[in-house]
C-alpha cells in the first residue's frame, strides 16, 4: 500500500514535470528565440558624438564675444570688365533605346494621334552627339553685370502633358510664366519651393523664385505623374543649359577673378547629379566643378567636353 502510493506520487511528479517540459519550455524557448532574433532588421551602426568637442563648440556658440569676432568674407579679386564662357558637351557613348513613359491618364490629350511621350533624361543629338540639358552655373561671383533680374517673364509651358522646357533656368526674382497650353488642367509642383499650383487650361500663373536652388530641383505635375522637368534658380543669374547640339554660353561673367562653375546632369551618377569629368586642365573635380579665369571682353571657348557613357548611364 505504502509502496504503490509512493509510485503513484513519483508518477504524478513525473507527469507534472513532463507537462511542464513540453508546454512551458516550448513557450519559453519561443519567447527567448523571438527576443534574441528581434522583429526589426539590424540597423546600421551610427557614429557617436564627441562630447568633449561638443562642449567646446557649445561654448563658442553661446558666447556673444565670438559673434563679433567673425570676419566678413574676404573680398574677392576685383577685376573689371566682363567675359563670356562657351563650351560643348558631347556624349561619348551609344545612348540606349528611347524609353516610352507610362501614360495612363487623359490619353485623349496626352497620347493624341498615337503620339508617345518618352523619357528625356538622356537627350543625345544623333547628328552631332551633342548632350542636351547639362546645367552649368557659377558657384560664386563677386560682381554681377545686371544689378536686378530681368522683368521679362521666362515662359515655362506644358503641352500634350509634357513640360516644354526640360530644364528651366532663371534668376531669383525673375518672373516665370507657368503656362498651360493643353485643353486639360495641370498643376505645377516645384520641389523645395512654395510653389505647387493649379494651372487651368490655356492660362498661366506667374511665379517669382524666392531663393536659390543649389543643384536643380524637380518640377512635377501631380495629376500626370510622368511629367517631369527640372528648375535651377540662381541669385546672380549665371546659369546656362546646354542646347540640342550640346553647346552652352555663359555671358557677362566678371573678368579678372577665378570663377568656379558647377556642372549637373539628370543622369549623372555623381553626388546630387554632379557631372564629374576627367579634365585636369580645368581642375575638374568629382563634385562636378571646374575653374576658369576670364580677361575683359574675352570669349573663352573650353571646347568639346566628352561625357563618357559610364558617367551618365546608357
Amino acid at each position: 500500500m505504502q509502496t504503490s502510493s509512493n509510485n503513484k506520487f513519483v508518477d504524478c511528479v513525473h507527469r507534472a514535470a513532463f507537462r511542464f517540459c513540453a508546454w512551458r519550455a516550448a513557450t519559453a524557448a519561443l519567447v527567448a528565440a523571438f527576443m534574441a532574433v528581434g522583429c526589426v532588421p539590424q540597423r546600421v551602426a551610427t557614429p557617436l558624438a564627441d562630447a568633449e568637442v561638443a562642449q567646446k563648440i557649445r561654448a563658442t556658440l553661446v558666447s556673444a564675444a565670438s559673434a563679433s569676432g567673425s570676419t566678413p568674407e574676404a573680398a574677392a579679386s576685383t577685376g573689371t570688365g566682363w567675359g563670356t564662357l562657351k563650351g560643348r558637351f558631347l556624349f561619348a557613348g551609344v545612348p540606349g533605346a528611347v524609353r516610352p513613359l507610362a501614360v495612363d491618364k487623359d490619353t485623349e490629350v496626352c497620347s493624341k494621334g498615337g503620339m508617345k511621350l518618352v523619357d528625356r533624361s538622356l537627350l543625345v543629338d544623333p547628328a552631332t552627339k551633342g548632350l542636351a540639358n547639362v546645367v552649368v552655373f557659377a558657384r560664386k561671383a563677386s560682381r554681377v553685370k545686371n544689378a536686378s533680374p530681368s522683368t521679362t517673364p521666362v515662359v515655362f509651358d506644358q503641352k500634350q502633358c509634357e513640360f516644354l522646357t526640360p530644364v528651366l533656368a532663371a534668376r531669383v526674382g525673375q518672373p516665370i510664366d507657368v503656362h498651360n497650353s493643353d485643353p486639360i488642367g495641370h498643376n505645377t509642383n516645384i520641389a523645395g519651393s512654395s510653389f505647387n499650383q493649379l494651372v487651368p487650361s490655356g492660362q498661366g500663373t506667374v511665379y517669382k523664385p524666392e531663393s536659390e536652388t543649389g543643384m536643380p530641383t524637380a518640377v512635377t505635375c501631380n495629376i500626370h505623374p510622368w511629367m517631369k522637368a527640372y528648375a535651377v534658380f540662381r541669385k546672380d543669374g549665371y546659369v546656362a543649359v546646354s542646347g540640342v547640339d550640346g553647346t552652352f554660353t555663359l555671358a557677362d561673367l566678371p573678368a579678372g577673378e577665378i570663377i568656379e562653375l558647377q556642372v549637373w546632369h539628370e543622369r549623372s551618377n555623381g553626388p546630387n547629379g554632379a557631372l564629374g569629368l576627367e579634365k585636369p586642365d580645368l581642375k575638374w573635380t568629382p563634385k562636378g566643378r571646374f575653374q576658369i579665369q576670364l580677361q575683359p571682353d574675352e570669349v573663352k571657348d573650353i571646347g568639346t567636353l566628352d561625357v563618357p557613357a559610364s558617367v551618365n548611364g546608357t
Partner: protein
C-alpha cells in the same frame, strides 16, 4: 475521505493517498515556480544586468548616406548637433531657436515625477512610441500604422493656417494635439492640461528645428569648397547665423504668414453655392476631379507619393540604377584609380541598401482623400477646408487653388465638399458606379 475530521490523529497521519495528492500539488507549484525562474533567467540574459543605456538621437542615416558622408563627417554632424541641441534626456536650446527650455524639460527625458509630483517626460509617455525619440516617425509602432507617423525632421507640416511653404503656428500644433487627426492613428490629447499640450508642441518644434538643422548640415558638405578638406566650419557664424537662424526664423514668422480668409459670402443661397461648387469641382479650373475622382471617392490619380515617401522611393531608384550600372561595368579595362572608385561605389551601394532596410519604412503611395466619408484629417470646420483648398497641402501632391480660383469660389467648393457625404449617389449617373477603390 473527510469522514472523521474530529480526530486529530487522522489529520496528522493522513492516508498515503492524501499525502500523494498533497505532494503532487507541491510538485505543480514547484514546476510553476521553476517556469517563472526560467523566464526571469531568459529575460535577464537577453536584457542583461547593466543599466538601460541613455536615450539617443539617431542620426539621419538616409540623408548622410545619400550625400556620401564618410564616418568622420557623420561624427562631426553628431558632435555639432550635440553642442547645439543636447540629448533627449537633457535638451538645450540656443536663444536663436526662440524655444522655451522650461517647457522642453517638462516634455523631455524619461517619464518621471519631479519633487512636487508633477509628471515629466511627456513626449516619451505619449508620442515617442510612434514618432520616435528622434522625431523621425520611426518609433517601434510606426511600421504597423497607416498612414505612417509624421517624420518631423524635414520641417514640413500639413495641417496649418499658414501659407503652403510656411511653418504652422503654435495654435495649429496645439489644435492637432487637442483634436487628434481623424482617419489616422493620431489620437486626441484633450485630457492633458493646457500646460502639458503647450510643452509637447514646444518639444515638437525643438525636434523639427533640430532635424532640419541636421539635414542642412549634412547637405552643406556638398556645398563645401575643396579647400575646406571636407570639414564644416565649427564657428558661430556658420552654425548659428547661416544655418540655425534661417530655420528658426521661419517658425518665428509663422503667425505673420496666416492665410487671409474673406468672410463667407453673406446671404449666400446654400443650394446655389453647392451647385456652383460642384461645377468647379468637376471643372478644369479647380480640377478636384482629377485626383478625388468623378465619384469623389478618392479614386482618381492615386499612384503618387508624398514628400516623405518620395525620398525613399528616389533613394531606392538610385540604388537600383547604381547597382545595375555597376554590375554591367567591366573591371578588366579599368585603371587602378577607376578600380578603386568602382569598389567604393559598390561599398556605398551596399551601405545605402542596409540603411534603407533599417532606417526607412516601405514606401506607400498617398491616396487622395475619399470625400464621401466626411472625415477630414486637418479638421472639419469649413475654415479648415478653406485652408486646404486655398494653399494646398504641404508635403502632399494637393496643389494650391490660390491665384487660380477666387476666394468666394473657394467657399463654394467648401460647401460642395461638405455636402458630398450626403449627395444622392444616383446623381452620378449609371456610368459612375460608387465603388470605393482598393487601398493597397
Amino acid at each position: 475521505m473527510r469522514a472523521t475530521p474530529m480526530h486529530s490523529a487522522h489529520l496528522v497521519l493522513a492516508s498515503p493517498m492524501q499525502l500523494a495528492n498533497c505532494l503532487t500539488e507541491i510538485g505543480r507549484q514547484a514546476s510553476r515556480l521553476a517556469f517563472l525562474l526560467l523566464c526571469t533567467l531568459v529575460l535577464a540574459s537577453v536584457i542583461g544586468c547593466g543599466a538601460t543605456p541613455p536615450a539617443y538621437f539617431r542620426p539621419n542615416m538616409v540623408e548622410s548616406t545619400k550625400q556620401r558622408l564618410n564616418p568622420e563627417q557623420e561624427r562631426q554632424v553628431a558632435t555639432v548637433l550635440l553642442a547645439m541641441f543636447g540629448t533627449p534626456d537633457h535638451p538645450v536650446a540656443l536663444a536663436e531657436t526662440g524655444l522655451n527650455e522650461a517647457k522642453l524639460h517638462l516634455a523631455a527625458g524619461p517619464v518621471r515625477s519631479d519633487i512636487v509630483g508633477r509628471k515629466n517626460g511627456l513626449y516619451r509617455e505619449h508620442c515617442a512610441h510612434c514618432h520616435g525619440i528622434t522625431g523621425d516617425g520611426l518609433g517601434p509602432t510606426a511600421a504597423f500604422l497607416n498612414p505612417y507617423p509624421r517624420d518631423y525632421r524635414p520641417g514640413v507640416f500639413k495641417f496649418k493656417s499658414t501659407e503652403r511653404a510656411d511653418k504652422p503656428t503654435q495654435a495649429d500644433l496645439v489644435r492637432i494635439l487637442h483634436n487628434g487627426i481623424a482617419g489616422t492613428s493620431m489620437p486626441s490629447f484633450a485630457l492633458l492640461s493646457e500646460t502639458k499640450i503647450e510643452a509637447l508642441a514646444e518639444y515638437v518644434k525643438y525636434l523639427t528645428i533640430r532635424g532640419e538643422t541636421e539635414l542642412t548640415l549634412i547637405r552643406a558638405f556638398f556645398e563645401l569648397d575643396d579647400d575646406a578638406k571636407g570639414t564644416l566650419p565649427e564657428t558661430r557664424e556658420f552654425l548659428v547665423e547661416e544655418t540655425l537662424t534661417p530655420i528658426a526664423a521661419k517658425w518665428q514668422a509663422a503667425p505673420a504668414a496666416a492665410i487671409p480668409v474673406p468672410p463667407i459670402p453673406a446671404n449666400i443661397d446654400l443650394v446655389a453655392s453647392i451647385a456652383k461648387g460642384r461645377e468647379l469641382f468637376y471643372g478644369d479650373k479647380a480640377n478636384c476631379v482629377k485626383c478625388h475622382g468623378v465619384t469623389g471617392l478618392g479614386d482618381g490619380q492615386a499612384n503618387d507619393y508624398d514628400d516623405w515617401n518620395k525620398v525613399i522611393v528616389e533613394a531606392d531608384k538610385e540604388i537600383r540604377s547604381g547597382t545595375e550600372q555597376a554590375s554591367q561595368a567591366s573591371t578588366a579595362g579599368m585603371s587602378p584609380e577607376q578600380l578603386a572608385d568602382h569598389r567604393l561605389q559598390l561599398v556605398w551601394l551596399e551601405k545605402f541598401h542596409q540603411v534603407l532596410d533599417g532606417d526607412a519604412l516601405t514606401p506607400r503611395t498617398i491616396p487622395p482623400r475619399n470625400l464621401r466619408q466626411g472625415i477630414y484629417r486637418g479638421g472639419r470646420r469649413p475654415l479648415d477646408l478653406y485652408y486646404r483648398i486655398y494653399a494646398g497641402i504641404n508635403g502632399a501632391p494637393m496643389p494650391a487653388a490660390k491665384g487660380t480660383v477666387p476666394p468666394e469660389d473657394i467657399w463654394h467648393i467648401v460647401n460642395y465638399v461638405r455636402s458630398l457625404p450626403y449627395e444622392f449617389d444616383g446623381e452620378l449617373g449609371a456610368d459612375r458606379p460608387m465603388v470605393a477603390p482598393n487601398r493597397f
